[in-house]
């Protein structure tokens, strides 16, 4: 009898989970469906399957990528460039800094560490105006130079997470390397860096998710007449065109979330672990 009770509990739990996950997938499915509908039907027949008179085929996609006076492909290219460059820059320099801070550990290093940690609690609005002006003055307002701004503003969390990990590494390995004749640069790149791999993945995923989706920083820092990223592009089309083509917007949203979903499904284990690590430590 107890087993039977347990069984019905399991089944009702499962039903709740299935209903909830349908609710979770539905918004994505709706975007996908509406990207194949004619503009006027997106608002009036949002929940209808694209067929018959409301179907638009791939028209929205063709219209979407050539919308306005800025091709969508350019925004994709800039988003990819900025995300990859900034993430690599942050991973390299913050791991180096974290190792230096942990191993040297003098007063200056301690002070630097506390300023890095302090920067984690400062909201972007506090620095956005002066940061945008500084970036402009120093000509850091292009996709190839904005990674330096990301390195500066995003250093806090990365250094914090790397220091937390390096503190737990045994010193003996590095001593052995030094005795075997490694200089510190060799020790770091040949011995320490390979050991940092798990934290590299966690930090890398957090930075990729942040930079890829970031809207306000690139919006304020980049020279907007020349460079847009995907979020800026979508906001620009929706925000500044009064009579916007909703079908085309849905097509662009579909295009921009498909790579994200593929990325998620291929390395979801690392992503979930990385995000949880960032949350617990931050």
């Amino acid at each position: 009898m107890k087993n039977k009770k347990k069984c019905t509990g399991m089944i009702s739990g499962l039903i709740v989970l299935i209903i909830a996950s349908v609710a979770w997938v539905l918004p994505i499915l709706l975007v996908f469906m509406n990207s194949f509908k004619k503009n006027t039907f997106v608002k009036t027949a949002t929940f209808a399957w694209p067929s018959g008179e409301n179907a638009a085929g791939f028209d929205n996609y063709i219209k979407g990528v050539t919308f306005g006076n800025y091709p969508f492909g350019k925004s994709v290219m800039y988003s990819v460039t900025i995300t990859i460059l900034a993430t690599l820059l942050i991973l390299l320099f913050s791991s180096m800094a974290a190792w230096y801070i942990t191993r040297v550990n003098n007063k200056f290093c301690k002070a630097m560490y506390y300023i890095f940690v302090f920067s984690m609690v400062v909201p972007f609005q506090m620095v956005m105006f002066t940061l945008a002006k500084t970036a402009d003055t120093l000509k850091l307002n292009t996709p190839l130079t904005i990674p330096i701004i990301y390195l500066g503003f995003g250093a806090g969390l990365a250094v914090f997470m790397f220091v937390g990990f390096i503190k737990g590494l045994p010193l003996e390995i590095e001593e052995a390397a030094a005795i075997d004749g490694c200089n510190p640069i060799q020790t770091f790149f040949l011995v320490v860096l390979p050991m940092l791999k798990p934290t590299m993945i966690s930090v890398g995923i957090l930075e990729i998710m942040w930079i890829w989706n970031d809207y306000l920083l690139p919006y304020l820092v980049l020279d907007r007449t020349k460079y847009m990223t995907i979020p800026i592009h979508i906001q620009y089309l929706q925000g500044s065109y009064g009579t916007v083509d909703l079908g085309a917007i849905m097509a662009l949203i579909t295009l921009s979330i498909i790579p994200v979903i593929i990325f998620y499904l291929t390395c979801q284990k690392h992503i979930i672990k990385g995000v949880a690590a960032g949350a617990v430590k931050g």
């Binding site: 949002t46 191993r103 400062v122 105006f129 002066t130 500084t134």
Partner: protein, 298 residues
Amino acid sequence: MSSVNSTMITRPIAKLFPVFLLPITVAFLIGFVYPFLKGFYLSFCTFTTTSDAKFIGISNYIKAFQDATFVHAFGYTSLYTVVSLVLVNVLAFFLAFLLTQKIKGTNIFRTVFFMPNLIGGIVLGYIWSMIFDGVLSHYGTNILLETRYGFWGLIILMCWQQIGYMMIIYIAGIQSIPEDLIEAARIDGATKMQTLFKITLPNLMPSVTICLFLSLTNGFKLFDQNLALTGGQPFNWQADGTVVKTTEMLALNIFNTFYGQSSTARGVAQAKAVLFFVLVAAISLIQLSATKKKEVQQ
């Protein structure tokens, strides 16, 4: 011996400051330290760009407190934060509890619930504004016409995005509770409910603290979703000519004051930003001391 070895390691590294620490220090000065200090200074100035600043004392702060839009944004943000905090955490815990009951195939559910976290705030805002307008258009209205639509719309959007995230933290917390603790309770004759409230929840307090504070800071700092979903609409014209954007939250209010029509208000905007920073930093500090205390107890 070990200290001798450590200095053997430390000294050559210390010399390499230009290689290891200098690059990030320079970027950090440009990307954080200088903008932060300059921003703090500018909150006491009147300016339109950073080079024409004139020191005027604390009058920007006084103006910020007198600003009806700022006060409204603070109240609206607080209300949103409290409601979303309760809903997100209760539902996330509920899902985490279900997913740790050894039902088969739970990994798929975990994947599904977490997925919205990878989508950016701007895109999320437009996805949901399409859905809400699709529903509301049947009643001849839309999400931009009423404050309560915008409010609950944002709550639904953020539940959809954040429940999966908090759920992951709760699952990790539940899984770290020793199995024998729950086993012992069962042998002593505790019901499922008793086990949940007397064993699982008390042992889950570290995760609960993390999630509550994450929800708090996320709620106050929310910007992208707010901008994309309603952008502050509907507007409310006051008798004295100021426009209160009824669904505008703190971060968006600061942004609009900076880059709005009147460039003379930038000093006030910077003062608001400093107040915003103090608020967010205070929440983080309370969190830090709260988690520290918990660690001592264990």
